[in-house]
């Protein structure tokens, strides 16, 4: 069942990619990601799942660049949640390999990630509203720099949290 969840996540990621763009190159990147995800699910290798997630992410960005559509927060959030679910399910697959599973392990895992999805949706809506309000006040020339600084800042914050927790 845990493998099925991981496989469903990988297939959902490919479907979302196809939904975003019909370009052949995006399909190939997606298929490569799916193959890596299949290896990860079969072998329980975490590194392969991470690589597959990054490939799906590259494919998604490529699809966005090629299509140049308007922002679709629902698809993006679904994509992010499916990526997390893939990573978590492969991690659980590796741990459950050759083990006796007792209690509602899968049910609680799925429940937790669904709750997280709802939280992420709320946070995204809030972020989008905030972004729309702030966007008007920012100078257009500085926006790439601000985006890079914001990205770097968030990664640094998370890295600091890692240092504190680890």
């Amino acid at each position: 069942m845990i493998r099925l969840l991981a496989a469903a996540s990988a297939v959902a990621l490919l479907a979302l990619l196809r939904l975003t763009s019909r370009a052949e190159v995006v399909l190939w990147v997606g298929l490569l990601g799916l193959a890596l995800a299949a290896v990860a699910i079969a072998a329980g290798w975490r590194w392969a799942a991470t690589a597959a997630a990054v490939l799906f992410m590259v494919g998604y960005t490529l699809a966005l660049r090629l299509e140049g559509r308007s922002v679709e927060p629902g698809v993006a959030l679904g994509f992010g949640l499916a990526l997390l679910l893939l990573l978590a399910a492969v991690d659980l697959t590796g741990r459950a390999r050759g083990a006796t599973v007792r209690g509602p392990v899968l049910g609680t895992t799925v429940g937790r990630w669904l709750a997280l999805g709802a939280g992420a949706l709320l946070a995204a809506m809030l972020a989008m509203e905030l972004a729309a309000a702030v966007a008007g006040t920012l100078p257009a020339m500085a926006s790439p720099l601000l985006a890079a600084a914001g990205g770097l800042g968030s990664v640094l914050v998370v890295a600091a949290l890692f240092r504190r927790a680890g």
């Binding site: 006796t100 392990v105 609680t108 995204a124 985006a147 890079a148 990205g151 968030s154």
Partner: protein
Amino acid sequence: MRGRLTPLALSILAVAAWAISLGVLAARPEPFLVALPGLLVLATLARRPSAPRCTIAHRISRDRLFEGEAATVTVTVSAGSPVALVELLGPRPPGAQLGSGRHRALMTLRAGDVVEWAYELRFPRRGVHDVGTIAVRMRDRLGLHTWEHRYVDAMAVRVYPRVVPLRSLPRPFHTQPSVGDYVSSALGEGIEPGDIRQFAPGDRIKHVNWRASLRLGRLHVTQRHLERNADVVLMLDTLAEVGAPPETTLDQGVRAAASLATAYLARKDRVGLITYGGVMSWVRPASGAAQYERLADGLLRADVVFTYVAKDLLRVPPRVLSPQALVVAITPLLDRRFAKAVLDLAARGFDLVVLVVSPVEVTRAALAGSPTDDLACRLWALERRADLAELRRHGLPVLEWRPAEPLEAALVGARRRRVRLASAG
């Protein structure tokens, strides 16, 4: 208990970082939204979660068994607080096989839950196996934090070598004064009738032979042969072994030693043990059920320890290796130092039997069975035949045992005569 971040947290961080970088490069907001759930998960690291509370207990169905038998390990987990995911790695000593169930478990527990999980371990090889350690790993709700600790409750399973019943045993030349199963030529207290003589003052009435007394007209008594026991010392070669566990030449030798010890002890003999190898150890001869325990403990620990040093049997105290004892040397004859020690014993006038565990068959069983292997084994068998003939030329009784055949078949062939060598080869 040690807490740390999980590899899953690192994976999420890597993917989120990639998403943010790609968002900046592609100048699109969607990758940031993709990273959002991951960043939300990682934001929970800001609060330091406390370690879940859970207690472990385990028990073993049997702590003493024979090779090939199985024991059930039962682990009980009690949760003092909710545990999102607990991974347990139960004891599985090297060499033990899983019979039924699995020695790893994955559980989700609510506060107050008590879960029991059991699996069966089969022990194909003798030894003292540690089954007292359980590795526990607990994770938080999102799988970012993990706490690990080892639950240790000193527990061991003692696996004794398989014993086969033996009826034919090499008979000792010398007997001891204690009561045993060997009928002595000397007359005294016993069961076997010996001679008849005239009654003398002090003779007991129950010894009167009434038939002879009536025929001869005077009281006669039946004299009986004394029944004696003997000292038997099993000398196990632990200098070298071949074959794949649990069927190495040493394993077979240990089984033979255990069977011989059981059979001799059943005859009320005093049995001792010397393990001759890199580490030399011994058990003083004694009789009874407790002695079997001592011998079995000695055999459990018998292992090959490499050494360049040839140990001198003079180090063994005479009360262990008495000159009156029958020495049964159990060896695959892979190391010339053991053959030299055996010849030395024979030269010192010890009553000696050499039981050779054939390493050719054991090695052949461990090999793939290619024509080259087969040819090599045949050449080795010829070479060994010459070696055994050399020992027999010295007058030593050499019994060759192929482990595929019953041990009794090898022992039946024992034809012995007293030997005294001028000097050790």
